[in-house]
């Protein structure tokens, strides 16, 4: 089964380099077209090697704009705004976005919160996840299971995700839910973090108020 292109999902870039835990994508777009910190993106898996892992889901963990000699010259030169915009949009050095693997969808469209068997192929297209994809990624796993899947949090913590990233990703995911579902998600996610970080009380007691604040902000924005 191959993933169907989803017109609603904007293309954000292509894979530059990857390993099992994360990949880096490169893109030209700037401003509103760049994937947001903490948002979820998806990329097709290596379908030849891993027919069961169809789509890898990742969390945008960092965005990096590298410079080049020409940009250094322009910084100190007096040029028009039109020239600057032209250079921004057409420069040769891409913007690099670091994405931590959060899980993958299998051929039955079931979500797995585990590292994909293999990283994506170079130059594979990366799309931003839609609200529906986010909800499916966190949906309860099977019959009788009440709780949402939140295993991606363990992967993020294992990948040394910062408090800011954890807060940002939860805020993004929370926006995919509405009303009581959003409140319930915030509660379950907080509890999952409390379990995962129970040995690090200081971090937990610092992180939770931030997340609470972020999530209430997300609720306000929605």
């Amino acid at each position: 089964m191959s993933p169907k292109p989803k017109p609603a999902s904007p293309l954000v870039g292509r894979v530059l380099r990857a390993n099992v835990t994360e990949f880096t994508l490169g893109c030209r777009a700037q401003g509103g077209q760049l994937p947001a910190f903490g948002s979820l993106v998806r990329v097709a898996a290596d379908r030849v090697a891993d027919p069961q892992a169809v789509e890898i889901i990742g969390v945008v963990a960092d965005l990096r704009l590298e410079d080049d000699p020409f940009v250094r010259q322009l910084v100190s030169a007096e040029v028009s705004d039109e020239y600057i915009n032209d250079q921004r949009n057409r420069r040769q050095v891409p913007i690099e976005v670091r994405v931590i693997h959060a899980g993958y969808f299998d051929a039955r469209a079931a979500a797995w919160h585990a590292l994909p068997p293999r990283p994506p192929l170079a130059l594979e297209q990366i799309f931003a996840c839609t609200g529906d994809e986010v909800r499916r990624f966190c949906a309860p796993g099977g019959p009788g299971e009440r709780s949402r899947k939140l295993g991606f949090l363990a992967l993020l913590i294992e990948a040394q995700a910062s408090d800011a990233l954890l807060g940002a990703v939860l805020a993004h995911i929370a926006q995919a839910f509405e009303g009581e579902a959003r409140v319930e998600f915030a509660r379950e996610a907080g509890r999952e973090l409390a379990r995962l970080l129970s040995a690090d009380v200081l971090r937990l007691t610092r992180l939770l108020p931030q997340i609470g604040h972020t999530l209430s902000g997300a609720a306000g924005r929605a």
């Binding site: 796993g141 099977g142 019959p143 009788g144 509660r187 129970s198 040995a199 209430s216």
Partner: protein
């Protein structure tokens, strides 16, 4: 592999319908009970000691247990030093149940197998992470059995109004039992209810030494509400009321069957010995009583109380067989007998003891009302001791003859005494009839039902023979310890006992219940009257049993 597939693979047993998951087992032992970590969804304040839970084991066994303690835990001790800010409701909510959690201590009591059948005492415990659920009504019903003639509905478990806790009356009367509790906690109501059950079931005759006129005829509570006595509930002659104080009985409009008078000539030193402490009789004086009885014959008390000192007494003093001081002290202390009008030199009528024995043996329960003499402990002890000694000896004789095939077994008898510690004090229990009855169990078909507010004052050996203990609120540490003497796993139940409501709640443990149970005792009122007098709807009871069966085993 997703969890659902794991479930399929491992075959997780289905949860009982309607049962609420509470948490998982995280530790404990068979002897000290189990520690259960509560789910984040479980509201700690919604639980209470005394509630029932069921733990689902790995082998389709269910372990039936009681909540005996609740506490708070944290994965890290540091958490207590870093609590969430007062206005940070989100952190408090997510930490509660995860890094900071509720713990429930559960005393596992019985094992329910998937195949059904009688619950059995546990001999093992569930493994780590076994799921703990609130016990369903069907499970509680399974444990406490169906209500029938000998299984008496005494109340409901806490927060389970529809479930009946049924006391096995046959087992209750089989051994001595006790009703304990602080003053004003409803001991008399519970005792009256138990006696009504026993009388209705016809399992034993009861001889009630009714100190405060609580059992025979109607009584009123503090609010003035009137409650029926046993004689009013059983109007067919199954209960007789005998009074020591006809005047008070008349004033109370209590219907009595006869008046009890005791001949001073029938009182023996052993009848008085129990009063030694109250009368202030020294050991020498008690010894002198036996000497006087031997020398003066049956009239010994009459002679001691005579206004004019008899020549026989003078001779004893003159011969220095008895010190004048000792004699004088005994006579002064025996003045008490003059103040008890039911003690007479030559009362008219047939032998009261023989008549009471005959009634008891015919299946009639006897309530002996003390009227105003109930406030005189000496009178109560004297009469109870006097009658019990004689009736017990008749039971022994009848039982021995029955063993030789010369008579029928005497009908089982339950003797009810209040202020039981006065009869069963460690200093006297060893040689009083009550101590003997408690120790000999059902050998002669006589058992005790002791009602007391100071169980710690009862002899330890006697307490250990109390088969069923119905305990209302007790807060004295020594009393609590006494109630649990000889009970395995009692430590966990202490918390339960100390937290009972002051009214209408009791912890029942021992011979007549399959496991300790905290009950909200049923209302002593019209519904109970109707049931006891046979007016209750038998159809409704059958329907309830059928519903329970269907819930447990399906169609």
């Amino acid at each position: 592999m997703p969890d659902s597939d794991l479930d399929t693979f491992l075959g997780r047993p289905p949860l009982t319908r309607g049962a609420r998951p509470l948490g998982v087992v995280v530790g404990g032992s068979l002897s000290h009970g189990l520690e259960v970590m509560l789910d984040p969804h479980t509201v700690l304040e919604g639980l209470a000691v005394g509630r029932y839970v069921v733990i689902h084991g790995q082998t389709r066994k269910r372990f039936f247990g009681m909540v005996t303690d609740l506490s708070l835990g944290a994965t890290q001790p540091d958490l207590a030093s870093h609590p969430p800010a007062a206005d940070d409701a989100y952190s408090a909510e997510v930490l509660r149940g995860t890094a900071a959690y509720g713990l429930m201590h559960v005393a596992p009591m019985l094992e329910l197998t998937a195949e059904g059948g009688e619950p059995r005492p546990i001999k093992t415990i569930p493994a780590h992470f076994a799921q703990v659920l609130e016990a369903s009504e069907a499970e509680v019903n399974l444990v406490f059995g169906a209500e029938d003639r000998s299984h008496f509905h005494i109340g409901a478990p806490l927060e389970m109004d529809e479930v009946h806790v049924n006391l096995d009356l046959a087992r209750l009367v089989e051994r001595s039992s006790g009703v304990f509790g602080k003053s004003g906690t409803g001991k008399s109501f519970i005792t009256r209810m138990l006696l009504a059950g026993v009388v209705r079931a016809g399992l034993a005759s009861c001889l009630v030494f009714d100190m405060h006129n609580d059992y025979g005829w109607s009584v009123r509570d503090e609010t003035g509400r009137e409650y029926k006595g046993l004689r009013q509930l059983f109007t067919d002659g199954r209960v007789s009321v005998i009074t020591l104080d006809p005047e008070t009985s008349r004033h109370r409009q209590s219907k009595t069957d006869r008046e009890l008078r005791i001949s001073l000539r029938q009182i023996e030193p052993e009848d008085v010995e129990l009063l030694a402490g109250l009368l202030g009789l020294s050991e020498i004086q008690v010894g002198a009583l036996h000497f006087l009885r031997r020398r003066l014959g049956r009239d010994w008390i009459v002679k001691l109380l005579a206004e004019k000192e008899s020549d026989e007494l003078k001779v004893l003093v003159d011969e220095e067989r008895l010190m004048a001081g000792t004699l004088g002290a005994i006579q002064r202390k025996f003045e008490l007998f003059r103040r008890l009008p039911f003690l007479q030199e030559d009362p008219l009528g047939e032998d009261a003891v023989e008549e009471i024995f005959a009634r008891l043996n015919q299946g009639t329960s006897v309530v002996l009302e003390f009227g105003r003499y109930g406030t005189q402990l000496e009178a109560y002890l004297l009469v109870a001791n006097y009658l019990t000694r004689r009736i017990h000896s008749r039971y022994v004789e009848r039982k021995n003859r029955a063993a030789g095939g010369q008579a029928q077994d005497p009908r089982p008898l339950v003797i009810v005494i209040e202020e039981a510690h006065k009869f069963l004090d460690p200093t006297v229990a060893g040689h009083t009839i009550f101590g003997t009855i408690a120790r000999e169990l059902r050998k002669y078909n006589v058992t005790l039902l002791v009602v007391d507010q100071r169980p710690s004052a009862i002899d330890e050996e006697v307490m250990s023979q109390i088969g069923t203990r119905v305990t209302c609120l007790l807060d004295n540490e020594a009393d609590i310890r006494a109630v649990f003497s000889g009970v395995s796993g009692a430590g966990a139940l202490r918390e339960v006992l100390a937290r009972l409501d002051t009214r209408q709640q009791a912890l029942i443990l021992g011979h007549a219940v399959p496991m300790p149970v905290v009950v909200q005792t049923r209302e002593y009122g019209e519904a109970l009257y109707a049931e006891l007098t046979g007016a209750a709807d038998e159809g409704e009871r059958k329907a309830r049993r059928e519903r329970t069966r269907k819930t447990l085993y399906g169609e």
